[in-house]
């Protein structure tokens, strides 16, 4: 009897261990599969020109820094970084300021027709960007803005983007009315309430949006391609990677493209590492804490 219990016990234990080992084995195998393109990006940036064109292995035969040297010696690279940073900074500050103001106007104060405004904002979310892309090009062209960075950041200062407004509004609605009512009794104006009561409380969602917006903007290709086009002085990194380093007729080897890809990915990886929990668990994890 005793023996039986002992046997089944060890059986269960063995099974559990086997299952755990199997689970980790699967996690590693699937993980290797998914991380493969990332490894290739990184490793191939150290390959020699000869190897990258005909490689039989994911590992570089000899470590070559030539691709990075080529980038370092490229005179315009700093300019591309600067352009991308200008676009990102102007956009992110626009997102933080304008979308929170708009969301505040939509849920913390009252005016007639509020619902109509909100519906209108949501409706723009469903509109495919393609319809407005072509006429915006002609409008920007008439205003002389094609080939400049203006089209890449100007629109965000008008409202801050529908998705951002929507998410901040959802978050703001969670702030108890009593907070602002006390301030109203004290005679605070609505802009005071926005600046000194609501803004500090919505900081977590603002940070979340700043990070996610940055990641999208830093890598955006389609908007710069449409509105900056082929003015090399205003290339952003993504656009430069295509126009300067990859387009048919370019004399650069793929290892240089990969090296630029590695460098471009760094800011996003750093941000991802810092805000991993929020980004992984989504807006829900951005709890309301003052």
């Amino acid at each position: 009897m005793n023996n039986d219990i002992y046997l089944s016990h060890s059986n269960i234990l063995a099974k559990r261990i086997a299952f755990t080992v199997f689970k980790y084995f699967m996690l590693v195998i699937v993980g290797l599969f998914f991380i493969f393109p990332f490894l290739y990006l990184y490793l191939s940036s150290f390959m020699t020109d000869e190897q990258i064109l005909n490689t039989t292995s994911i590992f570089p035969k000899e470590i070559s820094f030539k691709a990075y040297k080529t980038l370092y010696e490229h005179s315009e690279l700093v300019l591309y970084v600067r352009n991308t940073l200008i676009v990102c900074v102007l956009n992110i500050s626009g997102v933080c300021l304008m979308s929170s103001l708009t969301a505040f106007g939509l849920c913390k104060v009252k005016f007639k027709g509020q619902d109509i405004v909100f519906t209108l904002i949501l409706a723009t979310l469903l509109l495919p960007g393609t319809v407005t892309g072509v006429p915006l090009f002609t409008i920007y062209a008439k205003a002389g803005l094609i080939g400049t960075l203006f089209p890449l950041w100007l629109p965000i200062w008008f409202g801050g983007g529908a998705t951002n407004i929507f998410l901040i509004r959802q978050f703001m609605r969670g702030i108890p009315k009593s907070y602002s009512e006390a301030a109203i009794i004290d005679g605070a104006s609505s802009i005071r309430i926005y600046a000194s009561i609501v803004m500090p409380l919505v900081k977590p969602i603002i940070i979340y949006l700043a990070v996610t917006n940055f990641m999208g903007l830093w890598n955006d290709f389609q908007t710069p391609l449409m509105f900056v086009g082929d003015n090399p002085m205003k290339y952003t990194l993504s656009l430069a990677l295509y126009q300067e380093f990859a387009r048919e007729g370019s004399t650069y080897f793929p290892n240089v493209q990969m090296a630029l890809g590695v460098l471009m990915a760094i800011p996003c990886i750093v941000l991802f590492a810092i805000f991993q929990k929020q980004l992984m668990e989504g807006v829900a994890a951005v709890g309301i804490k003052g």
């Binding site: 993980g31 998914f34 990006l41 103001l101 005016f111 072509v134 002609t138 389609q222 991802f272 994890a285």
Partner: protein, 304 residues
């Protein structure tokens, strides 16, 4: 004594509408960057707009652009819609199911599973252009994949370099995009109350019962959101494949938005591009409406 005073009209106006001031920027934005462009686009679509001759910008009002799309260029139009829809249906169906399965796989309490989530997600941090150049290099005639195939004694595959193999290649490589939706599923799965699983376990429910009776029904709102966004995005596919285009695969990557882009920005046929974008808009609109109409299966939680 009560003094009954009517506030002056401007006070009342300010009280009723004053706070709209917070929404003035967004309203201006919708006007400048959405409504006016839409009107422009509609006007362009119904005329011959020549971008280079300022004095004869608008001429020949009529349906000629749509006639071109559905008559002269009918073959091209059908082809573009065909490859775009084939791409959308295949990648959305496979991608949603696949990424959901990976999310289920990672939605466990094993120690260290968080590190694996990060590893799985890393490729999604590669910039889109770098990503497509990366796959171009890997799938080149003498790229890594073909060298592996040849090492195994197999025939080399043409991937992006030949028309027929472009679509299978796109499908195959779309697998590496799954972790992007995976993290959204995971976020939603975390919100399912643990008590639900606990009481199901007490009733003797196994893993599959719990998945099909709890996890999937409780994440339908995210499934719905992802479905809508994937349809809208997949039908406008552009950035991931535009850098890959060359003489051999051009027609197989001629998605609608690629054609709109080329018409407007390469050939400066603004009117044709505008008309084509309206056709796409109507198609996307009808599809979204259809999905919304059939969304009875979505569960939004108790209070909604």
């Amino acid at each position: 004594m009560v003094i009954k005073s009517q506030a002056p009209w401007y006070r009342r106006l300010w009280k009723d509408y004053g706070n709209i001031i917070y929404c003035i920027p967004v309203l201006l934005g919708i006007l400048i960057f959405t409504l006016i462009p839409m009107v422009y686009s509609l006007v362009y679509a119904f005329c011959d707009y020549n971008f280079f001759y300022a004095e004869e910008q608008f001429s020949n009002f009529g349906f000629q652009q749509f006639k071109r799309i559905f008559d002269t260029d009918l073959q091209k139009t059908i082809h573009s819609f065909y490859i775009t829809f084939r791409y959308a249906i295949a990648t959305i169906a496979i991608g949603m199911v696949g990424s959901y399965i990976v999310a289920l796989f990672l939605n466990q309490k094993t120690k260290g599973v968080n590190a694996f989530r990060v590893i799985y997600y890393l490729p999604c941090l590669i910039p889109a252009v770098a990503g497509s150049l990366l796959w171009k290099n890997i799938t080149d005639t003498y790229g890594l994949f073909n060298n592996y195939l040849m090492a195994l004694g197999l025939e080399p595959y043409t991937f992006y370099t030949k028309g027929e193999t472009v679509f299978p290649t796109i499908l195959m490589l779309s697998v590496w995009g799954w972790p992007g939706s995976m993290i959204m599923w995971l976020a939603q799965m975390k919100n399912v109350p643990a008590e639900m699983y606990e009481s199901a376990e007490l009733d003797g429910a196994g893993y599959f019962t719990k998945t099909f009776k709890i996890t999937i029904p409780m994440t339908t709102s995210m499934i719905f959101y992802q479905l809508i966004m994937s349809v809208i995005n997949a039908l406008q596919v552009f950035a991931g494949f535009y850098p890959l285009m060359n003489g051999q695969n051009e027609s197989e990557l001629d998605f609608i938005v690629v054609r709109i882009y080329k018409a407007a920005f390469v050939n400066y046929q603004i009117s044709y591009a505008a008309a084509l974008s309206w056709v796409l808009f109507v198609v996307i609109g009808l599809l979204t409406l259809g999905i919304f109409k059939t969304s009875k299966w979505v569960y939004y939680g108790e209070e909604a």
